[in-house]
Homo-oligomer: 189 residues x 2
């Protein structure tokens, strides 16, 4: 998606060879007009899928998921993050390891809000190692819901997230794929 | 706002005399169509204010803030919560005590995303003790931005949040005000 790539090129802050900070329009300050264009693009890319629910993860996936949901006319469910590992009978949960924070956290979704009848589109801001997305897939699978695809704003193509998801036969659509970071500049795939 | 009150009456889960759980449409699963009606209502209630930015707090304020922002055509900034108390020179921050969790956390906004020129509308899902809203006001004040008002989805009118905010001469608009909880039933103001 050219609009998003342009915005990344102009406004992302690159730290080292792996970190792309998009705090100015996606992760901390949110450009809602841009999110609307991204939402339309997700709708176009998953046009033929019958989506009943959008699943994301707090916090930075929520804005994008909500704006995108308007084009699908479905509710959003966001998984809650917790450091606590105590099991609850009322939730689906999985463990997610975050490389950025070197920390494992539990993500949870109440059993009430995903059912075996759901066709779930997972939306998130970043795809890197794929751990967060896999955690969401596991939650949908526990609910016996079908995951119809994963829509990502920015994919770090130099990490292994896509492979791990495609191994589950799930379609990944990323609006901007970063192939590499070269001398402080983003190179798109 | 009748639509929201009706939804609360029908779908909120009441726990004891103080807790109103709206996980099914606002806080965990999100009814984006309802959020759009709420966003329009905020726009109507702050019609005469020139808003340049919507400020909220992660996680459950983000969806509502993003949907509402479409009617104001301004960006959203969400304060990040952290348990860490280490100061950073690049952020505005304040301490917020959560009664629900009996825990004090730090909320932070990067200095880049609020300026003295900003006219800030604060949006959040709940107003109870007012601590979260006051924390956001303090952040806006540190940035020397003007707070033009606070838009709340559900106000617990039996707690003291509104008083604390109005002491700062800031207008509060809540879409549903719960006066009391009586025998497991919500009574609106």
């Amino acid at each position: 998606m050219e609009l998003l790539k342009k915005r990344i090129s102009e406004n992302a802050r690159i730290i080292g060879n792996e970190i792309v900070k998009v705090d100015s329009f996606l992760n901390h300050q949110i450009d809602v007009n841009l999110l609307n264009e991204m939402g339309k693009e997700f709708k176009a890319r998953f046009e033929n899928q019958e989506v009943t629910k959008i699943l994301t993860i707090e916090a930075s996936g929520i804005g994008l998921a909500c704006i995108a949901a308007q084009y699908f006319n479905v509710p959003v469910v966001f998984a809650k993050k917790s450091e606590a590992r105590n099991l609850s009978p009322d939730v689906y949960e999985s463990q997610v390891y975050s490389f950025t924070k070197d920390q494992t956290y539990t993500i949870r979704v109440s059993k009430e809000y995903i059912s075996p009848l759901d066709k779930v589109l997972i939306i998130d801001d970043f795809l890197a190692t794929g751990n967060a997305a896999l955690g969401l897939i596991k939650i949908a699978q526990q609910a016996q819901a079908q995951v119809v695809g994963i829509g990502i704003a920015i994919e770090k193509g130099f990490q292994k997230g896509r492979e791990k998801i495609e191994e589950n036969d799930i379609k990944v659509e990323s609006l901007a794929i970063i192939k590499s970071i070269d001398n402080g500049q983003v190179v798109f795939a």
